[in-house]
Amino acid sequence: SRPSTQAAAPTSAAPADKTLSIGFLGFAKANSFAQATWAGIQEYAKAHNATATFLDSNFDGPTQVNQLQDAVTSKRYDVVIVQANDGTAIVNAVKQAVAAGITVVIEFTPVGGDYSTTGPQVPGTVSIVDAPTLNGQGLATLGLGACKEAAATPCKVAYLQGFANYPLDTARTNATVDALKAGGADVVASVVGGYTPDSGRAAFQNVLQAHPDVNVVIGSSQAIEGAAPLAAGKNIKFVGNGGSTQAFDGVKTGSWYGVYVIPEKTEGAKAAELGLAKARGQQVPVATDARTLTPYKALGTKETLAGQTADYSD
């Protein structure tokens, strides 16, 4: 039978002096990005009368869904912060959690299939995300900046995308490539560069082989880490996605042009802040654009990053 689709039972606010418990459904324990989020959450929780637990799904979408479902059963958490491996598969479990009166904060990956909005796509949740489309546009902005610095016309750009069959990657790739083209750049290659230095290195080796005259290379920070050393002595500008220590160093030393930065630890702390506040009955904004966490709107270049440090390394 069709279940009633009534909105979630209004959550009774927790008293301010009650110690709340946060469950963090992160990408994987073995992932420094998720570790940075975790550090932010933990610190904030400790300082604000809350405890936090990391639920490790090891990058597996279905496992994460089960974890959220079981969190509802065990009633162990007042607040869950979801860093979704698979933003669509987890929708139903998120609904269940909301219905069970748990405060759900969507962090970093949008939950639901719209990759262009920072708003929550499941009613009753609070979201603080980095929308892939906006991310792609940001990368393109940096890429065009790099083109200008390289002073090449036409400017030849290679884009190292994440994976070919992930809608999230596809949305970002399309946004980046479209914005680059609109900006007058010539996208000569769009190849799979993955999320490890090794895959980035291999992809870039091949790009160099096919287009030795490439001017700008954009990719995940990990991929660029693997790629950049191969360009020593060549005038190639790199743009990374993800503000790791390595990316910051790259930009500061000038071997990279720029990096798209989401301060992940800050974002974690912000997510915890939003979650705890909502659970305690305060009004919170339902949508937060992760780009607003930095004064430079995530666009890290030599100038904007001066004096800044990264939240994590990879």
């Binding site: 069709r2 637990t53 065990s74 299939g113 992930y166 399309n174």
Partner: protein, 331 residues
């Protein structure tokens, strides 16, 4: 003809019969392991034995369970199906797309047909190419994933706005509070169980997996039996895909990546020999339950997830070793 064969067997038959009965009990070693974990969890958490958790558990198990049933029938017939998760994605996508055109139920039907057809193609590729199924289906699965990307242009596909609720029907509660997904899972797996254990087709599956050459010499069409196993597996994948899509309210090309391995693991953990010709459908389901249970227990116990993997690996190893040990003794 006068036969005075006072063969030695007559005397041994009684003894072997008793031994065989003993063997029967021992054959259920993996169930013993499963029950032990259930017992441990019931004693150590208050929430485990609750109805709602049981409902969740079966719901969580339904996708892997369906895939495990498909994997089991393939393995029993002596082949691997590494396309399971890719077929899942393709058929779920087709289900959504067809649903946009012809309505949700027609879409579901289209997905199942697509799953069956994909199974047919996979099976034909394996049988015709003569390449070992491991590598043939690995390559085929890459092709299927690629097709999914091409069909969807790499983005997510949704049912029509008006039919999104109906599309979620597999998440609705149903008989006895179980989700519809669970009901689909139980019915389909039950049907496959009967198919394998009670029909002559099932006998052929065992024969083909146990000794393909002997089966061939007895006039069994080895290739066709295996293709049929792939078709069954394809249907299971499609249904699993529909459950996932129904839960997510959408389908995409990267759905369930890597799940074919969990399915094979479940089949083998249940005690189906990877060499073929042995095993049972219920074993695949028990394997899937065991895997789900370990994850569920962990979540309910709230242990530090740092140690989760180590404990998980050790538990799986322990369960299969117990099973193995008991069964060996029965020989």
């Amino acid at each position: 003809m006068t036969v005075d064969t006072a063969t030695d067997t007559a005397s041994t038959t009684a003894a072997t019969k008793a031994a065989r009965r003993g063997g029967r009990v021992r054959d259920y070693g993996i169930v013993v392991a499963l029950l032990a974990i259930v017992l441990a969890l019931s004693l150590s958490t208050s929430t485990f034995l609750s109805t709602s958790n049981m409902i969740n558990l079966l719901d969580q198990c339904s996708v892997v369970g369906l895939l495990a049933a498909g994997a089991t029938i393939c393995i029993m017939s002596g082949v691997f199906d590494l396309t399971a998760s890719a077929s899942l994605a393709v058929s779920a996508i087709i289900g959504v797309q067809a649903g946009r055109q012809f309505g949700v139920l027609a879409g579901f039907a289209a997905a199942v047909v697509a799953g069956a057809l994909l199974g047919l193609v996979t099976g034909t590729v394996v049988v015709r190419s003569g390449v070992h199924s491991f590598i043939a289906t690995l390559a085929t699965s890459i092709v299927y994933r690629g097709l999914a990307v091409i069909v969807t242009a790499g983005s997510i596909v949704y049912p029509l706005a008006g039919s999104q609720e109906d599309f979620a029907m597999l998440t609705w509660p149903s008989i006895g509070g179980l989700t519809s997904a669970t009901i689909v899972f139980l019915v389909v797996v039950g049907a496959i169980w009967v198919l394998v254990s009670a029909t002559t087709f099932g006998r052929r599956v065992y024969a083909v997996g146990g000794n393909a050459e002997a089966a061939r010499l007895s006039g069994i069409r080895v290739g066709q039996v295996r293709i049929a196993a792939y078709v069954v597996s394809g249907i299971c994948s499609a249904l699993a895909g529909l459950i996932l899509a129904s839960r997510a309210g959408s389908a995409q090309s990267s759905m369930a990546t890597g799940m074919e391995l969990s399915a094979i693991a479940a089949a083998v953990i249940g005690g189906t020999s990877i060499l073929g010709g042995e095993g049972a459908i219920w074993r695949g389901v028990v394997g899937a339950l065991l895997l789900t249970l370990i994850g569920n227990g962990f979540n309910l116990l709230g242990w530090d997830t740092t140690y989760q993997q180590v404990v998980q690996g050790c538990l799986i190893l322990l369960a299969v070793t117990v099973d193995r040990y008991l069964r060996k003794k029965s020989r």
